[in-house]
Symmetry: C2
Subunit: 322 residues, 2 copies
Amino acid sequence: MPSPAHRVDFELRHLEIFCKVVETGSITKAAHIVHLAQASVSERLARLEELVGTRLLDRLGRKVEPTRAGDILYKAGRDLLEKKRQVCEQMEDFLGMSRGEVRMGGSTIPGEYLLPGVIRRFHQLHPGISVSVTIGDTRDVVERAVGGLLELGVVGARHEEKHLHYTPLWQDDLVLVVPSGHPWRDRESICVQDLEGQPFVLREEGSGTRGLLEQALQKKGKSLEFLTTVAQLGSSTAVKEAVKQGLGVSILSWRAVADAVRLGLLCRVHVKDLCLARRFYLITDKRRVLSPPARALWDFLVADAGNALCVPSSPEGGPAAF
Amino acid sequence: MPSPAHRVDFELRHLEIFCKVVETGSITKAAHIVHLAQASVSERLARLEELVGTRLLDRLGRKVEPTRAGDILYKAGRDLLEKKRQVCEQMEDFLGMSRGEVRMGGSTIPGEYLLPGVIRRFHQLHPGISVSVTIGDTRDVVERAVGGLLELGVVGARHEEKHLHYTPLWQDDLVLVVPSGHPWRDRESICVQDLEGQPFVLREEGSGTRGLLEQALQKKGKSLEFLTTVAQLGSSTAVKEAVKQGLGVSILSWRAVADAVRLGLLCRVHVKDLCLARRFYLITDKRRVLSPPARALWDFLVADAGNALCVPSSPEGGPAAF
DNA sequence: TAAAAATACTCCATAGGTATTTTAT
DNA sequence: ATAAAATACCTATGGAGTATTTTTA
């Protein structure tokens, strides 16, 4: 039968002191090293011996040497202390922002077109911090942020969720794009009414882009039903390709279509009576505390968006286009 | 530059509480499990957060969830606690004598002829304890015992060393042996004086057997010089073989030569005026504390020697040969 | 409103200090 | 005689308890 014996216990502080005593072979010397009085070390050792339930040191006049039990505890204690040191170091690195990981989320446009560049610049400042970006639509990102899976999120629409805190970042302009051979290619502009009957490609439900479009139409007394929806696709790239292929027209972020428009693969058409400006928001869960690295990234994102005010997001757009 | 930041520190008790809170997602539940009041756990967490220098938990109304920093600490803390548990278990096993090692020493005769059997019996009682025996001459064993390399020793002579404690064990008889073709083979007995001029094989200096012979001769007013030493050999087996080969005669433990005498390879000759009885002693360093396993072995050896009193070590020898 | 955490407070064990005694070289 | 550890004694802090308030679902 395994004897009920004694429940062995100890704290890290005890081990620190004990190990130093074993290493120096002297209580007085060890006391100096750990910055304690000799008597305190003696007492700490007595307490540890009480906790462990056995003598750990043989007092041989000038020297002290571990007993067999002390020897076992010393060898194991060294490992334990080394492991503790590593844990502390890891925490310190993380808190000091010299190492660690920040998990954030980005909805399609920010995640694919904006964050890569920002993260590149952030990484130069904090080479030890790795930023991982989960890309999804606005709804996904909001859900994960509230669920605690992500510390930060950048989304293209406010998604009234009471735990979230929103900080405005960059501005974005949505534009109407049509295939390159479309009859509207030479029109100066169109109006909302012209969209009636026009084959239209939509993003999926939950998309910020789609949400914004819905809101803009509402201001004109219309809903998405007003559009002739020919497809609902789960990413802006898919929508863009569909328009290129001539499936229909769509409204997309200028950032997603700028290259294709310049190459003549798509045409941008101005919709004069529809306000399609929007802003991206940095979201956090109000109830949660940001880790230092996440806080640094938060600061960086806000600062970056502040600077970017000088640079319009599209040729005509932007409030400070001087 | 690695920021001066905050020195992270903690104790195992903190980790235990913190980990339970993370696992249950609740301070109240964790408090129950670790048998503390809810308020105590709250305070311990606050203290830990102060020590680590950051928030570790997000308080979300009903639930609490670790922050990123808390997550890192939790994962590392689990490992650390598991390691501590192993250390405690190892100590408990050792102290409870269900596992561990005892290092002991034996001089030639006890080490080679007596301890193997005793250890076999001891092992049946404590299957988890391994006993390692270092064999050397009496001097070696005494040195290692005083040096702390061995917890126990069994030697064939007292070696007045003030730190040692001696406990008498089995009795032993030294006998004079001669080669099988020796002229004394048919003598009833001889006396000390007959040894003069007789080629004699000695053990090395430091041997207990040799020491005892020296003492016995001293009582007759003689020294080792009285003998005609033809060789000094470092083990009793070597001496025995030398006598078999006819190099000379010698005085050896009966235990070492009994088999050879029975097989007729050696002849035993009685020396009527020389007292060659001796006792083996169990030695320990008075200043050191015996580990529980060593203490168990000590008890076992003493008990075994007590029982063995009934069994004479040689045909005529032994105080209780009834 | 009910459940959970934080806060306020009290109490005591433990860690730490200084001064002195004991012990072993 | 000296160096080191143990002991005695004191203080402060941290850990744990109870009672109460605050918060949030």
